[in-house]
C-alpha cells in the first residue's frame, strides 16, 4: 500500500516534508492540493485531516498531520541517515529544542510577513497599518537574531557538523518572507552562509524545485482574483489584524 502526501508547496511545512521525502528517496503519491482554492475545507480532505491543514500523509490506513510528527515518523520508518534525527541523546535534544521553539517564533513571524507584505494587501486588497507592520518586522528580526545567537552560533549547522531536520524546518520558514520580497539575508552574512550550506546539502535542484511556487508568489498574486479570496477574508483579517 502506498504512502500518500497531501501538499501545497506554498506552505512551509509542506516544503520540509517534500524535501525530506525526496532527499531520502522515499516513494510517495504526491497529492498536490491548492490552499487558495480552498480544498482543505472539502469533505474529502476532512477525512484525511480533520485539522484541515497541510501537510498530511496517509500511509495505508494511517493518517497523520503536523510536519514535525510526519518527518519523525518517516525518519523512523524509513531508517533515514542518523544525522537527520540523531540517536545521540544530547544531539537529538538539540533538534527537538529547535523544532519546538520554531512553532511560536520564526514560523509565526515569517508567515505573518508573507501575509502582511503580499497576500493581504495584494490578494485581499486590505492595507496593513504601519504600526502593525513595524511590529511584525521587529518580531521577525528578533527571531532571526535569536536563531543566529542561540541556535546557529559558530556551527555549520544547528546541531553541529551535519544537517538535521532542524535546519530543514528552519530554512523553509525563512524562505517564506523571501517569497514576499523581503531579503532576510541582507546584513546577515552568517545566516546567508548557513542558507547556502543547507541548500547545497539538500541539493540545489531539489531546494529550488520545492521553492519554485513561493518564489513566484509575487507574480502569481497579480493574477489572483480577490473575489476568490472573499470567503477567507474575515477569518484572515481577524487572525492577523484584530
Amino acid at each position: 500500500m502506498s504512502l500518500e502526501m497531501y501538499l501545497d508547496l506554498f506552505s512551509q511545512p509542506c516544503r520540509s516534508v517534500y524535501i525530506f521525502a525526496k532527499k531520502n528517496d522515499i516513494q510517495f503519491d504526491y497529492k498536490k492540493i491548492s490552499l487558495f482554492e480552498g480544498y482543505q475545507y472539502s469533505e474529502e480532505y476532512g477525512k484525511i485531516n480533520l485539522l484541515r491543514k497541510v501537510p498530511a500523509i496517509k500511509d495505508g490506513d494511517f493518517c497523520l498531520a503536523e510536519s514535525v510528527a510526519i518527518m519523525l515518523y518517516l525518519a523512523e520508518k524509513f531508517h533515514t541517515p542518523d544525522h537527520w534525527y540523531p540517536a545521540d541523546l544530547q544531539k537529538c535534544a538539540r533538534v527537538n529544542e529547535y523544532l519546538s521553539w520554531q512553532h511560536s517564533a520564526i514560523r509565526i513571524h515569517g508567515s505573518k510577513m508573507f501575509w502582511f507584505k503580499l497576500l493581504i494587501p495584494k490578494a485581499l486588497e486590505v492595507e496593513i497599518p504601519k504600526e502593525k507592520m513595524d511590529n511584525a518586522v521587529e518580531d521577525l528580526n528578533a527571531s532571526l537574531n535569536l536563531f543566529e545567537e542561540k541556535f546557529l552560533q559558530d556551527r555549520p549547522f544547528i546541531v553541529g557538523d551535519q544537517i538535521s531536520l532542524a535546519d530543514l524546518v528552519a530554512i523553509v520558514e525563512i524562505m517564506q518572507p523571501v517569497g514576499a520580497g523581503m531579503d532576510v539575508f541582507e546584513n546577515r552574512p552568517k545566516l546567508k552562509a548557513w542558507k547556502d550550506r543547507v541548500r547545497a546539502e539538500i541539493g540545489a535542484e531539489l531546494f529550488d524545485e520545492a521553492h519554485q511556487a513561493i518564489l513566484y508568489a509575487q507574480e502569481a498574486v497579480k493574477t489572483m482574483d480577490p473575489k476568490k479570496m472573499e470567503h477567507f477574508k474575515p477569518k484572515i483579517l481577524r487572525y492577523f489584524l484584530s
Binding site: 480533520l50 485539522l51 494511517f62 497523520l64 498531520a65 503536523e66 510536519s67 514535525v68 510528527a69 510526519i70 519523525l72 515518523y73 523512523e76 520508518k77 541523546l89 544530547q90 537529538c92 535534544a93 538539540r94 527537538n96 529544542e97 523544532l99 519546538s100 521553539w101 512553532h103 511560536s104 509565526i108 504600526e131 511590529n135 535569536l146 545567537e149 542561540k150 481577524r238 484584530s242
Partner: protein
Amino acid sequence: MPLELYLDLHSQPCRSVFLFAKINKIPFEFKAVDLSAGEQYGDEFGKVSIIRKVPVLKDGDFILTESIAILQYLAAKHHTPDHWYPAELQKRARVDEFLSWQHTNIRTHGSKVFWFRGVLPAVTGAPVPKEKMDAAVEDLNMSLKTFEDKFLQSRPFIIGDQISVADLVAIVEMMQPVSTGLDVFQGRPVLSEWRDRVKKEIGVEVFDEAHKVIMNVDTLPQTFENKGLPEFLKLRIQKMFN
C-alpha cells in the same frame, strides 16, 4: 551534579516538566524563577538561557530549553515507562502530532485568555475590551472542540488506553484559563471525564501541588502592587496583545 530545573509554576510548560519529573521520581533541584518580577530578563538568568523563557533544564553542563524537548530528553535518559512516549511507530506519531499542534492552538489560546482575564487588567488597571475578550474565548472554544473531536474522541487518553506526555501537556495548558475562573470543563462531560482520569493517573496530590500557584493567580494584582511592575515588563506585555 544534580539535575537542575528552572521553573515558575505559573507557567504551563513548567508544570508539565515538574509533574513528569515528580511522577517518575527523577531527582532534581527546583530552581525558582520569578516571572512576575521579571527575573527572566535579568543578567543571571541570561547566563542560563538567552531565550529568557522557562522551563530550562541544566544537566551537568548540558542546558536545554523547550518543555517538549525536555520531556523527550528525560523520558529517554531515565528510561521512563513506555506509555509516556511510546516506542511503537504509530503511537509515538500520535503523541508527536498532538505535541506539535498544541503550540499554536490550545497553548496560544489558553494563554491569551489567562492574560486577558488574569494579568492584563492587573497591569493596565482596566479590563480588556469586550470584543477582544470574546474573540479570545471563541478561539479557545474552537481549540477545545478540535481537541475533543480529533485528539481525544472516545478514547480514555489521547493515544489510547494509557496516559502519555500528550495528556500531560494538554491538561496543564487547559488549567491556565481555569485558574482565572473560566471553567473550560463545565458543559463538556467528555473533557471533564478525561480530566478526572488524567488527574488520577498523575496523582491528585502532585497535580494539586503543581497547580497551587496558578490557582492563586487572583493575588497577582496585590503582588504587582507590593513588588511594583518593572517598566520594560509592562511595555512588553502590552505589546504582546496589541
